[in-house]
């Protein structure tokens, strides 16, 4: 399962941290929570993935959906500190080109 914690602000960007596993079981809840967290946000969004231990294509699809919405508002979405296994999936799917990935 996963946990989302939101609300930290960083240089005028809105930081959301995700912790745990996003797989076929947790994906629906993740999608709902994430869409809810970003619905009123009018800034760039940083998704802190330091504690995201697992994600699969379904989770990536959700992130792409969020990116689309965020971009529609003229903002961007940054993936922060993905673990090497998660980062690898961004690379394989070519999504490392769609998202800004930052290591801090």
């Amino acid at each position: 399962m996963f946990e989302l914690s939101t609300g930290n602000s960083d240089n005028n960007r809105y930081v959301i941290s995700v912790k745990g596993e996003i797989d076929i079981y947790s994906a629906p809840g993740f999608k709902e929570s994430l869409y809810q967290s970003i619905s009123d946000v009018g800034q760039d969004i940083v998704l802190d993935c330091s504690d995201l231990t697992y994600i699969d294509s379904m989770g990536l699809g959700i992130l792409v959906g969020v990116l689309k919405r965020v971009k529609e508002k003229g903002n961007n979405m940054i993936i922060r500190n993905p673990r090497s296994t998660v980062r690898k999936l961004f690379r394989i799917t070519g999504l490392d080109k769609a998202f800004v990935i930052e290591e801090v």
Partner: protein
């Protein structure tokens, strides 16, 4: 570990059991001598296949996975229920397919046997 020890796992056709398959896969691949990163790769590939099968809502109750431990790696055979359409047919599925193909050394659907078979060799990190 001998040439061909097989561990079989049969789980209910439900999303909440995919993590059990991942956990069992970690145990088997770790005992088989894979490094942590490769174990993660195998878990992801297995989850993608199971996820795609479960998404198609087949009528079958359970899904069987054979982990065949070979001296040079592992082969994973997953039964595909025969009343479901093609596993990787729409746009999103292409991503799952790309992930599986990148992470595993071999991946093949053998339609007449109703299985997907995937192979990962020891000593080859992506």
């Amino acid at each position: 570990m001998k040439q061909t020890d097989t561990v079989s796992l049969c789980i209910p056709m439900k999303a909440e059991y995919v993590s059990i398959a991942r956990l069992t896969a970690s145990g088997i691949t770790s005992r088989a001598g894979f490094d942590i990163d490769t174990i993660e790769d195998i878990k992801v590939a297995l989850s993608e296949v199971l996820g795609k099968i479960i998404e198609k809502k087949p009528l079958t109750d359970r899904i069987n996975i054979d982990f065949v431990c070979q001296s040079d790696g592992i082969r994973i055979n997953i039964n595909i229920p025969d009343n479901i359409p093609d596993l990787f047919d729409n746009e999103d599925d292409k991503f799952a397919l790309a992930i599986i193909r990148s992470l595993m050394d071999e991946m093949e659907m053998i339609k007449q046997e109703h299985i997907i078979t995937m192979v990962k060799k020891l000593g080859k990190a992506v």
